[in-house]
């Protein structure tokens, strides 16, 4: 019987297989950041171990880094201590690190792909659940805990038990105003935050193949929000073109050998998935969340649901709690929900195409009075590209704040936070209670919807912006 893409990549990395034991899997690329690594390095020191393969390891600073005044010492002493710990650890163990101020610094899941380190058929891990992003290249990429970070540092392998396979096939053409973010939010609403549990999801179908690499990363990024171990998309010409010429992509004969191998990385026609989901692209619409988990979403044209409408008792209770926390009432049209803050950024939607998409909506318009809008590029490279294209000026002329690269308000470990009761439209990936700041309320949206929302001051899509909101420039 044929094998799925995920099974092929897995099989290619088995170091040891024994009955009744997890497979020992080789790890091709290990990414580190300051939050989940200090205790792992400590563990190494305690047991007198080294980093086995510094040449397969890369660290960036992203979660704690400020997005203003980056040339000054970091104000928060605890954040500063954590970054300094990473710097010390990387220096001591010989790990390459991109620190604040470095041109390759940025959110770890933006930096790996942009350097060309994330390649088809590789295994990629990081102490960060959104490692699933890298699956967009046909890599088997997943988040791990700190004990596993230590394990990979010491051995470059991980004992892992097998997963189940799920195919999500999206056929047809996405309507013009529907982005990858809307698609993945709709998928999570459909299968639920636990729907992918135990599975590696492969996204397939004509609508997926038509997506750019960056859009594919947005999809795979949020696989974890459906509970999946990982998300993957088979590599194709789009993938190869994206990689060609990147700093760490193979060259010459190595490139040819790599492409030959990469072309074998597709699910065989006779392979069988454990579970399959089919989605008609044409039926999708701009999508936003109303609740406190990424599965609690609805089309923007819909209204806040009535908790009583949920069949399942625990879904009902969750909806009730969510509406209370979010201060929303059943039946309220989502388009009428006012926001205080708009955040464009994160490893979900902080890449150049995302900034272009938000800027195209903002161009010639103004952010509504009383709304603050933060634009935080995913990496320094993305920021430089945006400046080159004049996007930073579009943002600042519209009244948005153009910031330095990092995770920023995606999780508010740095000073970019919501205050209690404040409501945001955010292009990030989690609308959990307090995720963006204690008491903050988050609606997950696409970059286009974020920009349109900033202009109207309420959840909106670009089509809601009529001529009256346009300011001639």
């Amino acid at each position: 019987m044929g094998r799925t893409l995920a099974e092929k990549v897995w099989d290619d990395h088995v170091v040891r297989r024994a009955d009744g034991e997890p497979d020992l899997l080789y790890i091709d690329l290990h990414l580190l950041h300051e939050v989940t690594s200090p205790q792992a390095f400590d563990g190494l020191r305690l047991s007198g171990r080294k980093v086995r393969r510094t040449d397969l390891t890369l660290a960036t600073e992203d979660h704690n880094t400020p997005t203003l005044d980056i040339d000054k010492p970091i104000a928060d002493p605890v954040s500063r201590a954590q970054l300094e710990t990473l710097r010390r650890n990387c220096a001591e163990f010989g790990v390459r690190l991109h620190s604040l101020g470095d041109v390759e610094q940025g959110v770890v899941h933006v930096v790996g792909p942009q350097l060309g380190l994330t390649q088809p058929g590789t295994t990629v891990v990081c102490g960060d659940s959104h490692t699933s992003t890298h699956g967009a290249f046909g890599a088997l990429a997943f988040g791990i805990g700190t004990s596993q970070v230590e394990h990979v540092l010491a051995t470059q392998t991980l004992p892992l038990s097998p997963f189940r396979t799920m195919a999500i096939t999206v056929e047809g053409e996405l309507p013009a105003d529907v982005t990858a973010k809307d698609l993945i939010l709709a998928i999570i609403a459909r299968i639920g935050t636990g729907g992918g549990q135990g599975y590696v999801i492969e996204y397939r179908g004509s609508a997926i193949r038509a997506l750019s690499m960056e859009a594919r990363m947005t999809i795979c990024n949020m696989s974890i929000e459906a509970g999946a171990r990982a998300g993957m998309i088979a590599p194709d010409e789009t993938t190869f073109e994206y990689l060609r010429g990147r700093p760490h992509a193979p060259e010459g004969a190595e490139w040819d050998a790599a492409v030959e191998y990469w072309k074998t990385l597709r699910t065989d026609d006779d392979a069988v998935f454990d579970h399959e989901v089919f989605i008609d692209a044409a039926e999708l619409a701009p999508f936003v969340t109303w609740g406190t988990n990424p599965g609690q979403g609805a089309p923007l044209s819909a209204s806040v649901p009535d908790p009583a409408s949920f069949d399942d008792a625990s879904d009902r209770l969750a909806a009730q709690n969510a509406l209370e926390y979010m201060d929303l009432t059943p039946g309220q049209p989502l388009r009428e929900v006012r926001v205080d803050t708009v955040f464009v950024g994160s490893c979900t939607n902080g890449r150049i195409e995302d900034l272009r998409s938000a800027a195209s909506v903002l161009k010639g318009r103004r952010v509504a009075d009383g709304v603050r809008m933060l634009v935080v590029p995913g990496s320094v490279r993305v920021a430089l590209q945006a400046v080159d294209e004049g996007l930073d000026r579009v943002f600042t002329e519209a009244g948005a704040e153009w910031r330095h690269a990092g995770c920023s308000m995606c999780l508010g470990m740095n000073p970019d936070q919501l205050s209690p009761g404040e409501r945001s439209a955010s292009t990030s990936n989690r609308n959990f209670e307090g995720r963006q700041g204690k008491g903050g309320r988050t609606h997950l949206v696409s970059p286009q919807v974020a920009a349109a929302t900033a202009v109207r001051g309420r959840l909106s899509s670009p089509s809601d912006l009529d001529a009256t909101t346009t300011v001639e420039v």
């Binding site: 020992l24 989940t36 390459r96 102490g127 805990g145 051995t155 549990q197």
Partner: protein, 202 residues
């Protein structure tokens, strides 16, 4: 890792689904660089509410958390497991756990027990009506037993694969086990394609 064989203690009913790791331990706690000292961050936002179950006098010193479905979703932060352990929890029972959280918990000797939701409902009812009821989580027998005041016992078997169970029972350290396979790892490395990416060569 500390070994886990069997544990008996009082329970805490947490009637919430989708308890994500941002609720278990909020992000600002993640700046610490140690594995200890996270107890005050556990469920920090909810603990501000005097009504929250963990704040009830009868729940002080309880060691078994009985939670709703999809416990531990969200981030990969192992700090969530450390916070539960630092606070004093030895085991968490739920009908469904997020994968990464479950992996993290088993690596730290925090036993995550999966039981059907009907059984969890029964355990909730028991501990809510009798906060003093003793819950035993027995990894040797792979069984949860809860005893009511009138002597009736609620018994439920749970599954955990043999490999994970053995590691927990013996408190084995994964890294030492893997390092025994040094030869196999080196042999694998010798066959890796030369086009595979490296971080140190440009």
């Amino acid at each position: 890792m500390e070994a886990f064989t069997t544990h008996t203690g009082r329970a805490v009913p947490l009637r919430r689904s989708n308890v994500d790791t941002d609720q278990i331990i909020p992000a600002h706690w993640l700046k610490k660089v140690t594995r200890t000292g996270f107890e005050d961050g556990l469920f920090e936002a909810w603990r501000k509410d005097p009504e929250f179950v963990l704040n009830q006098p009868e729940r002080q010193g309880a060691t078994v958390l009985v939670a709703g479905p999809d416990f531990g979703t969200g981030s990969s932060r192992e700090h969530a497991v450390w916070a539960l352990q630092n606070y004093g929890f030895k085991a968490v029972i739920s009908s469904r756990f997020a994968d990464i959280f479950r992996g993290n918990s088993l690596k730290n000797g925090l036993l995550t027990v999966i039981l059907p939701q009907e059984t969890v409902d029964g355990l909730w009812e028991l501990t809510e009506s009798e906060p003093d009821a003793r819950f035993t989580v027995d990894l040797v027998e792979r069984q949860v037993r809860a005893v009511a005041a009138d002597g009736t016992e609620l018994v439920a078997d749970f599954e955990l694969d043999d490999n994970a169970r053995t590691r927990l029972l013996q408190g084995l350290d994964d890294i030492s086990l893997t390092l025994r396979e040094e030869e196999l790892i080196a042999a694998y490395e010798a066959t890796r394609a030369s086009f595979k990416p490296r971080t140190l060569t440009v």
